[in-house]
């Protein structure tokens, strides 16, 4: 603080508060250290002349009184702006530009006529002075609004178990019944499982972000139906059949139904962890690199869970299990749903359609080869089947699809924008 401004003012020779705006700016620019309210030098200058209420801290606290602009005679005011600054300290400290202070001051009843008491032309210039004078701790850790990580909730977490339970009940029912009753049990059970899957996926972490997404349910049903019946049908077709309706292989499909629960839990784990990392990361690149292992880890966790379930189902039903096709199908479906849940509906729909189309094409090619002169059509499928068995066709199709989606999701699901909460606006 310099005494120059005081000397320059002829009107108020006995008051150090007699600075005009320019000299104050000049002084503020000269020593950046802002004065604390009621600090030593100020009281020293005035000494006993300082009246009690002039010390800003001694004002009546309370929300109502805090906005009273000091309306004191000029002579006793040391630095009225400082008192004002003290009253609106929080407003001034959090402001990001002078206009914010101006708006806040006006909301507290400060008008241009009040500003004139602080020797300012208007509220804007008063706000500019306040903005310039209040120390602002720029490097302070900002209170980040963490996008709240979704909490695991009982409804979807338990609902996730329903498809598996219904599937197991259906398989058991079909096993202990015969003839037409068996068919009815199987049909009703399938319908129930389908509805349960739909219910389980419609809430929780695999809920679709966008209601208007293109439907993929048809392709999914086809892929699962192929997993149940396709191998038998293909085998029959290659051997000249089918002479009888193909028998279903329930182990793989049952394991998939049971894996709804681990899929939802894995998706929840991924979403929650990704959100939490969002708050901690400083840059987009950094975030992407930190989410990538998370995605792959979650994916691997699901595959491990599915493998375990497959082994369990195989042992329980006493059937051989087609690991390759079930695992690839499970991976494909999980990734497709995870992508769709984060708003990327385009690629999963395409890939599911192509995969289902490839499987259908393999079957159609075998049947078409029976037409005269079309023997060539069945050659690729036959070669594949003789080399690796009938399961090779869906395993290859789903495996390619899953790999494509995995590559795609490692690029898209690691983006920060994929994890933005939809109502993140303020």
């Amino acid at each position: 603080m310099s005494g120059l401004g005081e000397l320059d003012r002829p009107g108020t020779p006995d008051s150090p508060g007699g600075w005009d705006e320019r000299s104050r700016e000049w002084a503020a620019g000269q020593d950046d250290v802002p004065e604390q309210p009621a600090s030593g030098p100020v009281t020293d200058v005035l000494g006993p002349e300082v009246p009690g209420p002039d010390v800003p801290g001694s004002d009546v606290p309370g929300p109502d009184r805090s906005v009273v602009p000091p309306a004191r005679p000029r002579r006793t005011a040391v630095d009225p702006v400082k008192a004002l600054m003290h009253r609106h300290r929080e407003l001034c400290e959090r402001a990001v530009d002078p206009l914010e202070i101006a708006a806040g001051l006006e909301a507290h009843g400060v008008t241009d006529r009040t500003a004139a008491r602080f020797r300012h032309r208007d509220v804007f210039s008063l706000a500019e002075e306040l903005y310039a004078r209040v120390p602002r701790d720029e490097d302070a850790p900002s209170r980040t609004t963490v996008p709240s990580a979704p909490r695991a909730r009982a409804d979807w977490a338990l609902l996730a178990l329903l498809p598996g339970a219904l599937g197991a009940a259906t398989v058991a029912g079909a096993r202990f019944t015969e003839g037409q009753l068996r068919l009815i049990v199987a049909a009703v059970g399938t319908l129930a499982v389908a509805l349960a899957v739909r219910a389980a996926l419609s809430r929780g972490p695999l809920r679709l972000a966008d209601r208007t997404a293109r439907p993929t349910g048809g392709w999914t049903c086809w892929l699962i139906a192929y997993a149940a019946l396709g191998d038998a049908l293909l085998r029959a077709a290659l051997t000249g059949g089918p002479d009888a309706p193909p028998t279903a292989a329930p182990a793989g499909v049952l394991a998939l139904a049971l894996s709804c629960a681990p899929a939802l839990w894995c998706a929840h784990l991924f979403t929650a962890r990704a959100r939490r990392r969002l708050a901690a990361s400083r840059g987009l690149e950094e975030y992407a690199t930190s989410v990538q292992p998370l995605l792959l880890g979650t994916f691997a966790l699901y595959l491990a869970a599915l493998t375990g379930l497959l082994a369990l189902c195989g042992a329980g039903l006493g059937e051989p299990v087609a690991y390759a096709q079930s695992l690839t199908l499970g991976a494909l479906l999980l990734l497709a749903r995870l992508l769709a849940a984060h708003g990327f509906t385009h690629a999963p729909a395409r890939v599911l359609a192509v995969t289902a189309g490839a499987e259908a094409l393999a079957l159609a090619a075998v049947f078409a080869a029976r037409l005269p002169g079309c023997d060539v059509l069945a050659v690729p499928v036959e070669t594949l089947v003789t080399a690796w068995g009938t399961g090779a066709v869906p395993a290859l199709a789903c495996g390619t699809g899953a790999l494509t989606l995995l590559i795609h999701s490692s690029r898209t699901l690691t983006r920060a924008s994929a994890h933005a909460t939809p109502d993140a606006s303020c």
Partner: protein
């Protein structure tokens, strides 16, 4: 002439902000056609429906601001490059800091003007992209946008607060920008919609004026912006508890948008001097500013205002919505002082508590009144009564607000914060002398026709009230002057007439130059004769402004105080 009325969360929705004003404007200017382009603010608002529309509203097009429809367009390489270029420029401008909102201010000259120019071209670039390719909503939410924001924040020379932005803040800013730029993706910018109007009138700043800006950009349609409350200020007050980086970037966006709107608008009409100061500060050219006061329906108050003074000469009235900013506590303390001088005085506080903290505040005030003033009775055998009464409009004693004003000799306004004080204008229309605190637009409204005291000063308030209570002649004189002033400045008629004049002025000065094509698609030379721009052609042949309820000799645009008072007196 055809006027495109642009609103946001307002007319024609039932729960709209400025629907009353817009409705009066549209009904008052029946000789023009109105196309209403309304942005709705919430799903609830849309469900509540519209107000009944007069026949001069030819078409209404609405769009939701609260939801974004993705049209599923995925940008190809060229479109994406275009998007990155424009969005990046926008982000750069927002992060550049400096003298953001004060583009037109003298202190920040050339640099800011260039920045404002970049902001404008980025905005129009995005709008052109949305018009050509669609899919802007998806792109604004995509990683490309967030990446561009991050790059701008990390660039050298960026704002210090912007540099602290982390990923969540970037996402928040991107989401908010997407929301704010939703009007860019609308399908209103065609030759037969906003391209066909002669004038765009934005009923508020901010998002409502954005379609007007684009119509001006695409078709050269002149833009008129009316702001009764400054949108930028509302944004600052509503910014809430967001992190500093978010607030800084969004403040920069809204500041620059406001500056762009003010720069491109042909005429800006603030509702009071306070809004005008903000607009000037945000870069509005003074030559474009015309203050148009909001109009009030004077007929409700004419009976009280014209009639004989039936008021109890010892009653003070306070009318308004009970909330802490009205500072009734200070009024009660002042009333205690008044009672020391004039023991027979009564105070009637008329108003309903506002939602939220109003109830608690009203209870507090009632308790304080009971504490300060014990019940008193005329004699030993009468039932006592408190000199301060709390009432609400609509009861048997005070069926209308005019009755409330009529009940008192002096109207008191004790607010500490006030925008445009409606209750003060109503009291002026009732011809009552007023004592008010010096806040908001009070001084501007009251002029010299009432007493003004500093806020939070019960003693000054008391002294002014006592002075008026003791001087019935002065009260009458001030009341008459107040009514004359209110009739001159704050009636619906003056509001509508002012806008009518401004419409004609704009259309005369900067008409839309449309190129007329012949059958083969070639421009037709001299298709639009010069006379087409004469404003006289646009007005209807027989309809004259304000022809209803007004004698023929007063049909011209009323500007002078004398004629206006004479008109009121002739009713």
């Amino acid at each position: 002439m055809r006027i495109g009325l642009l609103t946001e969360g307002g007319y024609p929705y039932v729960s709209g902000d400025a629907r009353l004003w817009c409705d009066r404007l549209v009904r008052g200017l029946g000789q023009h056609e109105f196309d209403v382009y309304a942005l709705s603010r919430s799903e609830r608002q849309e469900e509540e429906g519209w107000v009944p529309l007069p026949p001069q509203v030819c078409r209404v097009r609405t769009a939701p601001l609260w939801s974004a429809e993705e049209d599923g367009v995925v940008y190809g390489r060229r479109a994406r490059r275009r998007f990155v270029e424009h969005y990046g420029a926008l982000a750069d401008v927002l992060c550049a800091g400096g003298e953001g909102p004060r583009a037109g201010d003298a202190r920040s000259g050339g640099v800011s003007a260039a920045e404002a120019d970049r902001f404008g071209s980025a905005l129009y670039g995005l709008a052109e992209l949305a018009r050509d390719e669609g899919g802007l909503a998806g792109a604004l939410r995509s990683e490309t946008a967030v990446r561009a924001l991050e790059r701008a924040c990390r660039a050298p020379g960026a704002l210090r607060t912007a540099r602290t932005a982390r990923v969540p803040e970037l996402l928040t800013v991107a989401a908010h920008l997407e929301r704010a730029l939703r009007p860019l993706s609308l399908d209103w910018y065609e030759g037969d919609s906003l391209g066909a109007v002669d004038l765009c009138h934005a009923a508020s700043g901010g998002p409502a004026a954005l379609p007007g800006l684009l119509a001006r950009h695409f078709f050269g349609v002149p833009l008129l912006v009316t702001e009764y409350g400054v949108r930028l200020r509302t944004h600052y007050l509503a910014a809430g508890d967001a992190p500093p980086a978010v607030r800084a970037l969004l403040a920069a966006f809204h500041g620059r948008l406001a500056a762009e709107i003010y720069a491109r608008a042909e005429v800006i009409t603030p509702g009071n001097a306070h809004a005008r100061r903000w607009q000037e500060h945000c870069g509005a050219d003074r030559a474009k500013l015309r203050t148009v006061y909001p109009g009030m329906d004077a007929s409700r108050f004419s009976e009280v205002g014209e009639g004989p003074d039936s008021a109890d000469p010892e009653t003070l009235v306070w009318v308004g919505r009970v909330e802490p900013t009205k500072d009734l506590v200070s009024l009660l303390h002042a009333f205690a002082e008044i009672r020391k001088e004039e023991p027979k005085t009564r105070l009637r506080i008329v108003g309903a508590p506002s939602a939220g903290e109003g109830e608690a505040y009203l209870g507090h005030c009632k308790a304080l009144a009971a504490q300060l003033f014990p019940d008193e009775a005329d004699g030993l055998h009468a039932v006592g009564d408190n000199p301060v009464s709390f009432e609400e409009i609509g009861g048997p004693e005070l069926p209308t607000s005019a009755d409330a004003y009529a009940a008192g000799a002096v109207t008191v306004l004790s607010s500490v914060v006030e925008g445009f004080p409606i209750s003060l204008v109503e009291s002026m229309l009732c011809g009552r002398a007023t004592v008010s605190t010096d806040v908001g637009a009070v001084v501007e409204v009251i002029g010299g026709t009432g007493l003004v005291v500093p806020p939070r000063n019960p003693r000054a308030l008391a002294e002014a009230c006592v002075a008026l209570l003791r001087d019935p002649e002065r009260r009458e004189r001030l009341g008459a002057a107040a009514r004359a002033r209110a009739l001159e400045l704050f009636t619906v008629e003056q509001n509508v007439a002012a806008f009518h004049g401004i419409y004609l002025e704009i259309v005369a000065r900067c008409p839309v130059r449309r190129v007329v094509l012949d059958e083969t698609g070639e421009p037709l030379p001299f298709a639009v004769p010069a006379e087409a721009h004469v404003p006289g052609r646009w007005t209807g042949p027989a309809v004259r402004l304000m022809a209803r309820g007004r004698p023929g000799w007063a049909a011209g645009p009323p500007v002078r105080a004398t004629s206006r008072v004479a008109v009121e007196g002739a009713r």
